[in-house]
């Protein structure tokens, strides 16, 4: 087989480098919220404003428990935050479901629904 050696080299390259590159990549860097200490947790309820979220306001330095009321529908119930390279994602199926976020410093944090269609701002004061 004339190309036998070439095919062997292709397999070697793909599996050699592939095992290195895929090894540590994991399934995703997704975090389904989490427990961020026993400090005072502030509750935030998201509302929908036409095709986006209404702006939500929280205080700095306190962990956040996020839920969505019944005005939030469709893919907007699946909320995605990208905080310091970590993705916090949860499908808030009912108004009782919550997404836990760590304490944040002052600033405006953009978030979106999981399909990237609806957007909102979490304003930390």
């Amino acid at each position: 087989m004339k190309n036998g050696f070439t095919i062997f080299m292709i397999v070697l390259l793909v599996f050699g480098l592939g095992s290195f590159l895929i090894r540590d990549s994991g399934v995703s860097n997704k975090v389904d919220g989490g427990n961020f200490g026993s400090g005072e947790i502030q509750k935030v309820v998201l509302n929908q404003d036409r095709y986006n979220y209404k702006d939500a306001f929280v205080e700095a330095g306190k962990p956040i428990s996020l839920s969505a009321d019944s005005s939030v529908t469709g893919c907007l119930r699946s909320v995605v935050f990208n905080l310091d390279g970590k993705r916090y994602v949860k499908y808030l199926k009912t108004p009782k479901d919550t997404l836990e976020l760590p304490a944040l410093s002052k600033g405006i944090y953009n978030f979106a629904c999981s399909m990237g269609m609806g957007y909102g701002k979490l304003i930390v004061k």
């Binding site: 190309n3 070439t6 080299m9 390259l13 860097n29 953009n110 979106a112 399909m115």
Partner: protein, 228 residues
């Protein structure tokens, strides 16, 4: 029977089909080489590089390696019939648009995944499709345009639903489509004489360019809110 002849021809000496596997090897070898070089000097210092980008980058490089040999195969015969040329333009445009769109869409979001996918899909689709004139060019243009957007959109919509598994499945199906395209070109040109004989520098050059652009775009490129 013809498929058997085609697989035999992949090991042959006379026709361009005998060079396809080597073209895949050269594309992979130089793309991975560039990646290792960049990783050693720069990329390893980027926080979470492996966990954030490596999977998608790896499959983007594999995607270029399966698409580019079809350019070599089409160039070897220069002119194809209208119907075959349209299939060539459409298939290469779609795959070359969808796969980069999907992998860039997974790291940079829908807009930039679409722009990237459309750019590469249209470029390769038109280049390959022009072997049969305006109809092939139009097919390449349309398929690249649609494939790029579809790839990025699929990636963004699957972000919370096993995106990496989807990436693997999409790549495997695309590989089968490209293999069948190579077979179709072989079948259509079986009686034709080879028009152009060339070395592998074009494949190597395009592989290096595409890999470099992909790495740059993934790591330093603009991204949507969803990706921070």
């Amino acid at each position: 029977m013809t498929l058997k002849e085609f697989t035999k021809e992949l090991n042959g000496n006379n026709r361009v089909e005998g060079e396809l596997i080597k073209a895949i090897f050269y594309s992979l070898f130089f793309s991975f080489g560039l990646f290792i070089l960049l990783y050693y000097f720069k990329l390893q210092y980027i926080e979470n590089f492996i966990s954030k980008y490596s999977f998608y980058l790896f499959f983007a490089i594999l995607s270029y390696a399966i698409v580019l040999p079809s350019i070599r195969q089409v160039r070897a015969y220069k002119n194809l019939t209208c119907m075959s040329g349209m299939m060539v333009g459409m298939t290469t445009g779609m795959i070359a648009g969808f796969l980069p769109g999907f992998f860039i869409g997974s790291t940079n979001g829908m807009l930039w995944g679409s722009v990237f996918g459309m750019g590469i899909g249209i470029f390769i689709g038109v280049w390959n499709g022009k072997c049969c004139g305006i109809m092939g060019i139009m097919e390449g243009l349309m398929a690249g345009f649609m494939g790029g957007i579809m790839g990025a959109m699929t990636a963004v919509m699957m972000i919370n639903d096993n995106l990496k598994v989807a990436g693997l499945i999409v790549f495997l199906i695309s590989s089968v489509i490209i293999f069948l395209l190579n077979f179709m070109i072989y079948k259509e040109t079986k009686e034709s004489e080879r028009q152009v004989k060339e070395d592998y520098s074009l494949i190597i050059f395009i592989s290096l360019i595409l890999t470099a652009i992909t790495i740059f775009f993934m790591v330093y490129g603009p991204r949507s809110i969803l990706f921070g």
